[in-house]
Amino acid sequence: MTDTIWQTLWQGYIWPGGLILANILALVVPLLIAVAYLTLMERKVLAAMSLRMGPNVVGPFGLLQPFADAVKLIFKEPIIPSGANKILFIMAPCLTFILALIAWAVIPVAEGWVISNINVGVLYLFAISSLGVYGIIVAGWSSNSRYAFLGALRSSAQMVSYEVSMGFVIITVLLCVGSLNLSAIVEAQRTVWFALPLFPMFIIFFISTLAETNRHPFDLPEAEAELVAGYQVEYSSMHFALFFLGEYANMILMSGMTTILFLGGWLPPIDVAPFNWLPGIFWFALKILLLLFVFIWIRAALPRYRYDQLMRLGWKVFLPISLFWVVATAGFLVAFDLLPKGV
């Protein structure tokens, strides 16, 4: 009797649960290492662009620098301001970090390599990325500091504004695919990547991801020259590190989203012999790396937007263009009878 109970427990819960846990670890551990090395890559690339050396002391070529940074941050004293709302103050960085990680549950890194292949993958990603604003706004409010609060207000307005045009861009892609499943979106790009037929949308989406991740030239929420780092100003030690890591994880996530929607995910650029020998994850990582390089390149090249310019770009430029493209794409697909005959 007890044997069968243990058997059902083992087969129904423990073994599948362990398998899921192993899947998650297999994704999260490389992701965290990638985040750590993204910080190093950013410093190295920025240094190269301004003819400096960048970090080169810790380890060969500065390769151990991320770990030195992590150790330094862990040993610092976590300071909680006396006027702060303690629970929310500690919760905010955790929220940012958690949201940056849980979105990866639906990202297919190669054919069939996905933790949860859900029907509404795109919507899930969009929902999680729209939640990212809470980490920032809660941090800004709970710090009980003017600079932090100003940063939080700016960031919430900015992220909500750019989500609108991002939504339209996603709708355009979905019109061409006929499914909300991320693997189906990648498979639909076997003939041609959506970056080519939907090129303007690709550009709009990429710029919107810059705004969504609070990166240059849209880094007003943490403008160091006017707001002394915005919503992060009261944070120290690991709380700060969680924000920092969450932001970089978000950058990788957004690059992954752009890759899946427009650059054909794990598919090789051309489906011929030397290219399709390589595993899908290689192409996926390569495309993400390329987009991340552009992220850093933009940081090195462009000055920060003024706040009204930012709002103008989002509402008066991107929104009309993306709305027009949704209508134009739908019209084109209907007129030439190209609508995907889905399920």
């Binding site: 509404v120 809470y134 207000l153 989500e163 909300l180």
Partner: protein
């Protein structure tokens, strides 16, 4: 499935508890955050029912957009909520009445009591079983065929509300210097720069 039931009770319990905290919390910002928690658990309940599209839309629209603006406003308001609570007993009868009406309506829906029997039967359109279509497709098929006028009508109502909000807040202030990017980019060098020959010791 035990896990299914456990997840249901977890989501339901947190949703009810956070719903209570929305009205019980002293700090309005905490209230909004509890409201977000309640939305989130409602989305979880939708997922358990197999309505993943509705769950995601709930999170995107309510948590991702509406509640952000809500939080935005509440954070900037300077309300003394202790003062507002003074009128609690005064408003108790009408609040209790509304609560009672909502409760009765819920019970009517749950009890399946049909006041107009043919309406209930015509509302049930044959929806293919979930094994054949995803619920996004099923929802689209119903929404854009049978309920297309209602759908468009609700869209128009939202549009009117949006235009109304813009009309209420739009004001043209005189003397505001706006940036006109088209003018800036079309400006030529000979319009903007004047080259002068400056004589020594003369100045311009």
């Amino acid at each position: 499935m035990i896990i299914h039931a456990l997840a249901f009770y977890l989501f339901a319990a947190i949703a009810v508890a956070s719903g209570f905290m929305v009205i019980a919390a002293r700090n309005p910002v905490h209230s909004v955050l509890f409201l977000i928690l309640a939305f989130f658990n409602a989305a979880g309940l939708f997922v358990l029912m197999g309505a993943e599209f509705l769950a995601m839309i709930l999170v995107i629209v309510y948590v991702g957009a509406v509640a952000v603006l809500f939080l935005f406003v509440v954070m900037m308001l300077d309300i003394n909520f202790v003062e507002l609570r003074q009128g609690f007993l005064q408003y108790l009868p009408i609040g209790g009445l509304i609560g009672f009406i909502l409760l009765v309506e819920l019970l009517l829906v749950l009890g399946g009591w049909a006041s107009v029997p043919h309406v209930a039967s015509s509302g049930a359109l044959p929806i293919p079983p979930p094994e054949q279509v995803t619920n996004t497709h099923a929802l689209g098929h119903v929404l854009y065929t049978k309920y297309v006028y209602l759908f468009q009508g609700s869209g128009l109502i939202l549009l009117v509300a949006m235009i109304g909000a813009i009309v209420l807040t739009l004001r043209h202030r005189p003397g505001v210097r706006r940036q006109d990017i088209a003018v800036q980019t079309y400006r030529r060098r000979d319009e903007a720069v004047e080259v002068k020959k400056v004589e020594p010791r003369q100045g311009i």
